[in-house]
């Protein structure tokens, strides 16, 4: 199954992550942690003039190939969308983008969704957009 899991595109995003870095004085940010493995991700958002559209988004932290690649893809998906659009983005949209079968692997599903959950938390803190419903699985996600 790893042959499906570690597809070329996953490995490419893992080795060359898009949007990797830090935004100083970000308009929104949050730190997420996967309590299962201790992996951490921080997400930084800068809004455009309208204060709604995501102009730039970056992430830092360390994690497995699935979590890093998924977060990298998320950075590409999120740019240009409004905070509200991202807050309402169904997780399946990201999972489709990742394109690897994770339905039967809830542990790795958490890896894949760590970035999206953390981004939604960042937007929630800055804009009051809805929290992700999957937050139940991330009890220890820091709401700093």
């Amino acid at each position: 199954m790893d042959d499906q899991l570690y597809r070329e595109i996953i490995l490419d995003h893992y080795k060359n992550p898009r949007g990797h870095g830090v935004i100083e004085d970000a308009d929104a940010e949050a730190d997420g942690m996967n309590p299962l493995c201790g992996d951490e991700v921080s997400i930084y958002v800068a809004f455009a003039e309208d204060g709604e559209t995501i102009e730039d988004v970056k992430f830092s932290g360390r994690g497995c190939a699935i979590s890093q690649a998924a977060t990298s893809m998320l950075m590409e998906l999120a740019v240009g969308k409004t905070a509200d659009e991202v807050a309402r983005m169904p997780r399946d949209e990201l999972l489709e983008e990742i394109g690897v079968p994770l339905q039967n692997n809830p542990t790795r599903l958490k890896c894949a969704l760590l970035g999206l959950t953390t981004l939604k938390v960042a937007l929630h803190k800055a804009k009051g957009t809805p929290l992700p419903d999957g937050l139940a699985g991330f009890d220890e996600l820091e709401l700093k």
């Binding site: 199954m1 790893d2 042959d3 899991l5 570690y6 490995l11 299962l36 493995c37 201790g38 992996d39 951490e40 360390r62 994690g63 497995c64 190939a65 699935i66 890093q68 790795r108 890896c111």
Partner: protein, 414 residues
């Protein structure tokens, strides 16, 4: 003088006692290298528990009828097996628990809340599992006591040269340490720690979860005051464990949980406590599991505890040699001579999750996590490792498949 030839362990034969090895994973033979997390179960334990349910089941310590007597006898016989295994002076000092975590919490709450206060110090080690770390950290907070940690050197061994500095922090009241580290396999000098603890007027609490299943543990030789272990790591069922406690301490302690079984007399005004060990066993215990733990103790005793230790020692030497041939693998912890059958490692530039996932596709089960030792991970400057661990049914072929799997990891991430 009678000469006894030490029994050699025959893992290939023992393996046939474990039904799980008859079931391939992803079409590959199962290589189970995660016994430090939980061990597999031999047919003898599974059959005995089933027979108990089918022929001797009724609640323990309650009924006067024969069935209840039989159930109680099975449960109490298991207590004697635990006593003998760890050489406790008396079965009154053997408390059945749900697992080692519950045993350690029992000590932290029932002893700690009444005996710690401002000016006192609770000491743990940087190698602790969260089960023997967090309870002491939190009880210290609640009682106003200090909390100190004995550090490790780069080989993952305790720095006993730091003890004097720790003693400056106040009146040391409790020292809590594991006998074998579940992450690094380090075998800790519990005898020396116990001597130090007693010199300070402190009690010594030992987490023997990774020791009792794999090596001879003797609470009287160690001189410790409390020692806990868990059934599911020694071929027994989940839901059972045991805590040894020194009688004088147990007698002076208040109960941990309260309800049925642990009382002598209850009135509206007052309640008095049952005798040891029942004072610490509130409610219906997991007695079939406790019974199953006794059968598991018979099983590993029959195999030979010394034989198990020696065999795992061979395996860990073998895997360390094989891993040393891979320059892209980092191994954590002490050399083979000073470690139990546990090896934590990382593959360069590959997260342990990914290592474990690819190994899984080869039928190889290793744990990828912080192993409930986050302070230790921080000390090592990492967030997680992959960990291979052995038991009496582990075979060298599993190490071959592990090494083969690691080469595949390298290929996927090249």
């Amino acid at each position: 003088m009678a000469v006894t030839t030490p029994r050699k362990l025959d893992a290939q034969t023992l393996r046939q006692d474990f039904p799980i090895f008859g079931h391939p994973i992803h079409g590959k033979p199962l290589s189970y290298l995660d016994s430090a997390s939980s061990s597999q179960k031999p047919r003898q334990v599974l059959d005995a528990m089933r027979t108990f349910y089918e022929t001797s089941y009724a609640n323990v310590h309650r009924g006067v009828y024969d069935l209840a007597e039989r159930a109680t006898a099975g449960f109490e016989a298991s207590r004697e097996k635990v006593r003998a295994l760890i050489n406790a002076p008396s079965t009154a000092e053997v408390i059945f628990t749900r697992n080692v975590t519950q045993g350690l919490n029992l000590v932290a709450y029932a002893w700690g809340l009444d005996n710690l206060g401002p000016g006192d110090v609770a000491v743990v080690t940087e190698l602790e599992h969260h089960a023997n770390f967090v309870p002491w950290q939190q009880i210290a907070k609640r009682t106003g006591a200090e909390f100190r940690v004995i550090g490790i050197d780069d080989a993952g061994e305790l720095r006993l040269d730091g003890l004097d500095a720790i003693a400056q922090a106040g009146q040391i009241k409790v020292v809590a340490a594991n006998l074998v580290s579940n992450t690094l396999g380090t075998i800790n000098p519990i005898d020396r720690l116990t001597a130090w603890a007693h010199e300070q007027g402190a009690i010594m609490v030992v987490d023997a979860a990774q020791a009792v299943p794999h090596r001879r543990v003797d609470v009287q030789a160690l001189g410790c005051d409390f020692l806990g272990f868990t059934s599911h790591k020694l071929c027994g069922p989940t839901g059972a464990g045991a805590l040894y406690g020194r009688r004088e301490l147990l007698e002076r302690m208040s109960p941990f949980e309260m309800g049925g079984e642990m009382i002598r007399k209850v009135s509206i005004e007052e309640t008095t406590w049952n005798d040891l060990p029942y004072k610490f066993e509130a409610g219906t215990p997991a007695f079939v599991e406790a019974y199953g733990m006794g059968v598991a103790i018979d099983y590993i005793t029959e195999v030979g505890i010394e034989a198990i230790e020696e065999y795992e020692h061979e395996l860990v030497g073998l895997v360390l040699d094989r891993l040393a041939e891979l320059p892209w693998v980092t191994v954590y912890g002490p050399p083979a001579g000073r470690r139990a059958g546990i090896v934590s490692f990382n593959v360069d530039d590959v997260h342990p999750h990914d290592v474990a996932q690819i190994l899984d596709s080869e039928g190889v089960c290793v744990r990828a996590s912080h192993h409930c030792t986050q302070p230790l991970m921080r000390r090592l400057g990492i967030t997680a490792t992959a960990r291979a661990s052995f038991y009496l049914y582990s075979i060298p072929e599993e190490i071959d498949r592990l090494i083969g799997g690691l080469h595949k990891v390298r290929k996927v991430f090249a």
